[in-house]
Amino acid sequence: MLALQILIDGFAISALYGLGAIGFTLMFGVCGVLNLAHGGIMVIAGIIGWWAAANYGAGPYGGAAIGVLAGLVAAYVTYFAIIRPVQRSRAIPKEEEEIFVLTATLLWGIMLQVGLDYLFSNNPVTMRSMIPGVISLAGVRTPRNEILIAVVCWVVIGLLTLLVNRTRLGKQLLAASINPRALTLLGFELSRIYMVVWTIYGLLAGLAGVLLASFIGVSSANAGALTASAFTIVILGGLGSVPGSLIAAYVVGYAETITAYLIAPTLRPIPALLILVVVLYLRPQGLLGRR
């Protein structure tokens, strides 16, 4: 019974972790960008979604749609106002581009967080469940909304997998992550591919933010923690590896849930961090990372 409870409870939260992280890992894999404003973009989506639903009667679905759109806009702004200027700057040496992207997105993340504080206060908010109520799964009472969220996460992850593996566009993305130069030689504009990736990224981060707001609530104060969580999962799984990130999301999600159930809720985050340290010592490239 307890095992079943752990299994069910960990599933949805891990799926949500995974959804939050795959956009981040896709972004790194294809564009080589580690976006430390990631949590800020998720929070924007959640808060705008809540705001539209609560104050303008957009309803749970309308609010969610507006939230996702807000995430997409935030991603575009991040790309055009922060990332592109760094990448195109002649004064920044190529080998130091990474630290500049990190610093600039760090600053941008702070600006997003403080701006949200200013406009919406840092109160945690939650979006209304899309479908309220609970059902009993083999004796474990589970909110329907939680099931919906897990399903949405997996459908989106599945769609992304299909997109990457089955479509022409997906092949281009995959190819760009393996060898961008070759793709250029085959006549594909990388700038267009990067735009596609930022679009996918914005939609994924927006959706993850909205689902997060609907499942456990978001606050601008969470922005840093959400970035750190995505960063952790993505590195644990191996930078740029989408399946790795999903596995890592489940490792972290279940490590936390099991700790909360079997050891103590106060120690919740620690085992996942220890797993991370051990994995990186033994496998510096992460679970499924390429060296």
Binding site: A91, I99, W108, I110, P269, L273, Y281, P284
Partner: protein, 304 residues
């Protein structure tokens, strides 16, 4: 030396700093006092980042060890100087612990390990709240002084001493070798330098000064808390200070720290938006002057 632009910048700045208590109010002295300790944090970080080439997301791991080490020893009845020494030793041990993954991991992977070190330290502090005071922090029985002026002198003196030592180190043989290892460890090894040994040394030096400054900050503020010495926001501030002021300049970090803290205060009338504006300015500097303010002023001319 007389031909160095740095010299002509430093002399008036030092003069201004040394005479500050005669023309600045206690409040501004307080701001500068904090900024000076942050300046030492930033310089220590720059030694690792700008010279040894290691992106360390965990400076507050070292600072926090030094701060809490010193605070705990003070609560055990030790006098302040011994506490500072003890705290720094603990920080250096932490530095060695951070250096070990640094020798194995690259780029973001190493960065994450340092980040995790900070998160684990925070969790430990909260879990062992009985000893550390947990999230609300730990009071220390002794403080350096309760006079703003005296505290300013301590901080200024500390900054000048640390700044001098770190600056000399950065320009010394060690600094040269560190830069070589940071730039290309294979080439450095081919020149006969034991890369491991020098990286380890860089981590120890960085940890020593970070821990010492962390301890000083505790005895200035009278408390050690996660929020004031370990939190990731402090890491963010340190990184931004260094990139803003100019990486690989050591002294740029001090400039950046003073800018961040002073402007955050000067813009206090903007209320909540002060951090927004300061971050925005820093972002512009990062995008437009990638070498940082001091790096821009001191940049080598293409021809002479």
């Amino acid at each position: 030396m007389l031909r160095s632009p740095l010299f002509w910048l430093l002399v008036p700045t030092l003069l201004l700093g040394a005479t500050a208590p005669w023309w600045l109010g206690a409040y501004y002295l307080g701001i500068f006092t904090t900024a000076y300790y942050f300046g030492v944090f930033s310089m220590s970080w720059d030694l690792l980042f700008g010279y040894a080439g290691e992106v360390n997301f965990g400076p507050t791991f070292l600072i926090g060890l030094g701060a809490y080490g010193a605070g705990l020893l003070n609560n055990a009845g030790w006098p302040i100087p011994l506490c500072l020494a003890g705290g720094s030793i603990i920080a250096v041990i932490g530095g060695v612990a951070l250096a070990l993954p640094a020798l194995r991991l690259r780029g973001p992977y190493f960065g994450l390990i340092t980040l995790v070190a900070v998160l684990l330290l925070i969790d430990c502090i909260v879990i062992f709240a009985g000893v550390t005071g947990g999230e609300i922090g730990m009071m220390v029985p002794d403080v350096l002084s309760i006079s703003a002026t005296v505290n300013y002198w301590y901080a200024f003196g500390f900054l000048v001493v640390c700044g001098t030592i770190l600056f000399i180190l950065s320009r010394s043989s060690l600094g040269l070798i560190l830069q070589a290892t940071g730039q290309d460890r294979i080439e450095a090894a081919a020149l006969g330098f034991n890369v491991t040994k020098h990286k380890l040394a860089a981590f120890c030096i960085s940890a020593l000064f970070s821990g010492l400054a962390g301890g000083m900050l505790v005895f200035y503020q009278g408390t050690a808390s996660v929020d004031t010495v370990v939190d990731l926001s402090i890491t963010v501030q340190i990184i931004i200070a260094v990139v803003f002021g100019g990486r690989r300049t050591i002294l740029g970090g001090v400039l950046g720290s003073i800018f961040l803290i002073l402007f955050d205060e000067l813009l206090r009338p903007l209320g909540q938006l002060n951090t927004f504006v300061v971050s925005g300015i820093a972002l512009l500097v990062v995008l437009l002057l990638p070498d940082g303010v001091l790096g821009y002023v001191l940049r080598p001319r293409a021809s002479r």
